[in-house]
Symmetry: C3
């Protein structure tokens, strides 16, 4: 049974959705040693999120940002928690709608993602700063 765990600090990104599959894979090259297993990617923040979606067209990521901004608008008048700016409470909601933790199977040393699947980081703050991920792979060795 193999276990690998690394922390990945992503530099500050602009508000919106960003494809981070490559950064995640580079942070945990030991996946190649795992025959059958699981990868967990966990973000240690409450105003950003992780999700899996389309890895090709950047317009999908732009539409995600449009949709979630309309669905949870900045400066929502009934929010009580507004000390940290108009984008703070909406960022918390989006973080829970999309989630902080991804679990992806490993098959024969590779992530078992579908052809069109990639890992998105949702940066829900105007100035979220750098973001820390804990990346854990485990499974049977080859």
């Amino acid at each position: 049974m193999l276990w690998f765990q690394h922390t990945l600090t992503l530099p500050a990104k602009t508000r919106g959705f960003h494809l981070i599959t490559r950064e995640v894979l580079q942070a945990i090259p030991e996946i190649s040693q795992v025959k059958t297993g699981m990868l967990n990617v966990f973000i240690q923040h409450t105003s950003a999120s992780l999700t899996i979606n389309e890895n090709a067209s950047p317009d999908v990521r732009r539409d995600f940002e449009r949709y979630f901004n309309r669905s949870v608008p900045d400066s929502t008048p009934y929010f009580e928690h507004d000390d940290e700016g108009p984008d703070d409470m909406p960022a918390h909601i989006k973080s829970s709608q999309l989630g902080a933790s991804l679990n992806i199977p490993i098959q024969d040393g590779r992530l078992a993602l579908g052809t069109w699947q990639g890992i998105y980081l949702g940066e829900h703050r105007e100035r979220g700063g750098s973001r820390r991920l804990v990346i854990t792979a485990f499974g049977q060795g080859k």
Copy 2:
């Protein structure tokens, strides 16, 4: 430590939510060998989803479809990504709202689902075609 992993290809289903607990269990009978463990069910697509909800009344699944269609309408005018049809970008959003990956504990050779819990496949396209799941069970043997 036991590991089992199978691919399950579900035939094309109509748009909406479908109970697939039985198909998942049939695809991985080795769960019965696991005393304490976890099951992961992963869908390799970005326009369908997996979630856990009420396994009895089919009207719950119809209300899911009604709710999500109103919450993310087809042909939303501000979506930029519309080449693949009016239901495509909404399907991507729903896929991330509900998720692509489920993790369910295994207890004494059975899934530790609550009495009323079942596994739903959310088919968010009019013609999504067949859908591929990767099903992984792991844990201590009995």
Copy 3:
């Protein structure tokens, strides 16, 4: 390889979001024996949810309740499944939007939560009653 699994029954809580990190940790003290691993927290109900969010300000949890009540209103007229009360079908939807299962990495005998992260129970019914969680920790021993 270590495996620990416990059932935690939480007493009935009021409708809304509740911080339950302490209860979860107390239910599975064996986390301290795990060097590198994962924790899964699973709720065996379809009208409550688990999510990770801000562990400090109670106003964040109140805003969650406000937001989700507006996003999925009680007594939504087009819901077909209304036999169990005006808050029942909305509770099912919220349960799937937020999720029933959390996966958090374990690092050196502790949960690898960020400084501001805590575990929320979302109670989406007026009278949800007690709620049962299955808590599973696994990983390499120290």
